[in-house]
């Protein structure tokens, strides 16, 4: 069972990183090694495997694998960006724990058990809201996160029970709850509210706004995108089969869901537009585009299954890139206020390119996967003229992206802080080979490296047999010492390179993230194929 190594590594490394948090270096090492191993083991997951435990089963699938590969990969990059900018030690541990539980949830055919797993994964996010130095606001945000995760999880549990078991493939009628359309309608609304609550979709945005203000920037993708995305996928799977037989009789409830999604899309743009700091822009932008996820619940079924799951992955990737972009922009220019960032794109062209890519990934272009997914979700939910209105509301996010781009292209003002690095700077010993004259000059003096160590010359061997052995041993020891010194010097040089180029490295990693989101939006990461897989078979305890 290829999923088990991933699960064991994620939870083991998360526990290890949290237990060693009083030793930051050890915790950092455990977290990064864990994330790297999790990425590798996620790649090694083989779809279609089944592990039976008691009456239940863990069934791996292509979508879950892709979710975990992209989640751990982007989590690793965001953690490195966090390390280069404003580090919070619990971030890798929380990412690991959350993705471990989410991965399990995506592999569980039983929706109730899967919801319990997503709750466990969501609770891991609380550890990153408690940032140092600890203050009352951080605790309050953590408490709100706890409340949101618990309430959403309980709502989903009760809603899935209320929806009842899926009709058996060979049964004549619907499931046992087919006659109770009122209860099904309430359950349907409850599960949509649960998803909206987890994403912070307007009007459930209050806690998400405070979260984006107080939580570490590097944790925002996990808290507002990846963990809720896993929850939404599980909720879609849980609701889909049960809803298929009774969807026609729930016109009012469907109307409410469409209204919730459309209001989220429209007012989300307004909410972002009036913000004057980057963190709120990220938070409300995530809440706005989550409106499409809500629209996916308006017609849960086979036709919206693929676009919904495609959009969820593209959304999580693009919003991760957006959060990372905001984090690097803030630390590079030393301000989070948007009106103090005049000319940011001119001074940080790498971030400018990344910004363009993430806009393209989020909104898409005609023919792209993300564009098609968004249009499909709107098209299956509403008909004209409402359809046009919702599409315009969705495209209104171009307004605030355009505003940010316009500010970035202005002439840099005095307010812009920091001094962005335009090109890579290397320590002297890592610089390209110097000219012959320079080398002679260097040999003239004693070679002292960045960490202050001096290379020892190899001593000549003594004559005689015993003397030969001693001489050879001494030579080996000397060579070993020199190698050790070179290794230490290299580590020191790399550390120095990292230190002086942190800003540029972080910008390049943002570019990598934005490129991944762009490729995902273009359909080149295999997202549409994975998202189009059939829903998990109803082998759950819900089956009669």
């Amino acid at each position: 069972m290829s999923f088990l190594p991933f699960f064991v590594i994620t939870l083991g490394a998360a526990t290890g990183a949290l237990l060693t948090r009083r030793r930051p270096r050890v915790s950092l090492l455990v977290g990064f090694i864990g994330l790297s191993l999790a990425f590798v083991t996620a790649l090694a997951i083989r779809p279609g495997e089944t592990l039976v435990i008691g009456e239940g089963a863990i069934v791996t699938n292509g979508y879950g694998r892709l979710f975990l590969v992209l989640g751990t990969g982007s989590g690793l990059l965001v953690s490195i960006i966090g390390l280069a900018t404003s580090w919070q030690r619990n971030v890798p541990a929380a990412i690991l724990a959350s993705l471990g539980w989410t991965g399990l949830a995506l592999a569980l055919p039983d929706p109730l058990t899967a919801v319990a797993a997503t709750v466990a994964g969501g609770l891991a996010g609380i550890f990153v809201t408690l940032v140092a130095p600890i203050d009352e606001r951080g605790v309050e945000v953590g408490a709100r996160e706890l409340r949101a995760v618990a309430v959403a999880g309980s709502l989903a549990l009760i809603a899935i029970i209320g929806l009842g078991p899926a009709p058996a493939p060979n049964s004549v009628g619907a499931g046992p709850n087919a006659g109770a359309s009122g209860a099904i309608g309430l359950a349907y609304l409850a599960i949509v509210v649960a998803v909206a609550l987890r994403f912070g979709v307007i009007p459930f945005h209050a806690w998400a706004g405070r979260l984006s203000q107080s939580a570490p920037d590097a944790a925002l993708p996990l808290l507002l995108a990846w963990a809720p995305a896993g929850f939404a996928v599980v909720a879609l799977a849980g609701i889909g089969s049960s809803f298929a037989g009774s969807g026609g009789s729930l016109g009012l409830e469907r109307g409410l869901v469409v209204a919730l999604g459309a209001v989220g899309l429209l007012f989300g743009t307004f909410a972002v537009w009036i913000q004057d700091d980057l963190e709120h822009v990220v938070g409300y932008s995530i809440a706005q585009d989550a409106g499409f996820v809500i629209l996916a619940f308006a017609t849960p079924g086979p036709e919206t299954w693929q676009p919904a799951r495609t959009w969820i992955l593209v959304f999580a990737l693009a919003k991760t890139a957006l959060a990372a972009w905001a984090l690097v922009l803030r630390t590079t220019h030393g301000t989070r206020r948007i009106d103090h960032l005049h000319g940011w794109a001119r001074r940080s062209p790498v971030l400018g390119v990344a910004f363009v890519l993430l806009i393209l990934a989020t909104i898409g272009w005609p023919g792209s996967t993300s564009w098609a997914a968004r249009l499909d979700l709107v098209g299956w939910s509403v008909t004209d003229p409402l359809r046009t209105l919702v599409i315009l509301a969705a495209l209104s996010s171009l307004l605030y992206y355009g505003k940010l781009a316009g500010i970035g292209l202005r002439v840099p003002g005095d307010e812009v802080g920091g001094r962005p690095v335009a090109r890579m700077r290397w320590p002297r010993s890592l610089q390209p080979p110097a000219s012959a004259a320079e080398r002679v000059d260097e040999r003239a003096g004693e070679e002292v490296d960045g960490d202050g160590t001096t290379e020892e010359p190899v001593r000549p061997a003594r004559p005689g047999r015993t003397g030969d052995r001693i001489a050879r041993t001494a030579e080996v020891v000397t060579v070993a010492r020199q190698s050790l010194a070179r290794g230490r010097r290299l580590v020191g040089q790399l550390g120095h390179t990292w230190h002086v180029n942190r800003s540029l490295i972080a910008s390049l990693l943002v570019l990598v993230l934005a490129s991944a989101a762009f490729l995902g939006a273009a359909g080149w990461l295999g997202i549409p194929d994975a998202a189009g897989e059939a829903p998990p078979a109803a082998t759950s305890q819900l089956s009669p």
């Binding site: 435990i53 039983d110 058990t113 009352e136 009842g164 009669p544």
Partner: protein
């Protein structure tokens, strides 16, 4: 009707009332322990020994994490906003409603858990009590421990309800619920520890915790920030 099941349901509900009413965090944790240890038994049939052991160990671990935190910080909490009699009456009302709903669902065939009408009604009643009791601390919790207890009761109510209406979880389901319980305990314990580090008590916002006698708890010295 199984008398042991009824006794378990009453114990679980009584523990929940104690957990959300007491101003002494230690007593509240004691009440919560009755609830967490009792909920796995609220199913028909009772889980197999191994999954049951996993649930009990997970509950004990979560409670231990809370206990350690409270022992190292403070035992003063806000307690119930409305007092234990009101909480008990709320629980009684929810119990009656839950029993009626559960019985109705079972007799009409909408509950597919496989248990009889009496058993289903008792388990649904206990689950409704837990959900009803969780509402106040979750909605107006003025300290993190009460909020955490509310979240725990809510999730315990949800899992109990699913056990009543669609049958007890299988081995894998029990293991996942065990993991969720431990994660919940760890999260609440972390919140309590950080709240105490930030302000010297477990309060949230304007909430001020009180000692068992009803007097406002004296603010304790702020420990050095752990960073």
């Amino acid at each position: 009707m199984n008398p042991v099941l009824v006794a378990t349901a009453v114990t679980v509900v009584a523990g929940a009332i104690v957990a959300i009413s007491s101003r002494d965090a230690r007593v509240a944790i004691l009440g919560l322990s009755l609830t967490l240890l009792g909920t796995p038994l609220l199913s028909e049939p009772i889980p197999a020994p191994l999954p049951l052991a996993a649930r009990i160990v997970a509950a004990l671990l979560a409670l231990e994490l809370l206990w350690i935190t409270i022992r190292a910080t403070t035992s003063a909490t806000c307690g119930s906003l409305v007092g234990w009699p009101v909480e008990a009456l709320t629980a009684a009302a929810a119990f009656v409603v839950g029993a009626g709903v559960g019985g109705g669902l079972a007799t009409s065939g909408l509950a597919v858990g496989g248990a009889g009408a009496g058993t289903t009604s008792i388990i649904v009643a206990a689950a409704c009590c837990l959900v009803a009791l969780a509402a106040t601390p979750l909605g107006h919790g003025r300290d993190v421990l009460r909020l955490g207890i509310g979240a725990t009761l809510l999730l315990a109510g949800g899992t109990t309800l699913s056990a009543a209406l669609v049958g007890p979880p299988g081995t894998l389901g029990q293991l996942v619920i065990s993991g969720m319980t431990v994660a919940l305990g760890a999260a609440v314990a972390a919140l309590c520890a950080n709240a105490f580090a930030a302000r010297g008590d477990l309060g949230l916002g304007g909430g001020r915790t009180r000692e068992a006698g009803g007097r406002p708890a004296p603010l304790q010295a702020r420990p050095p920030v752990d960073e």
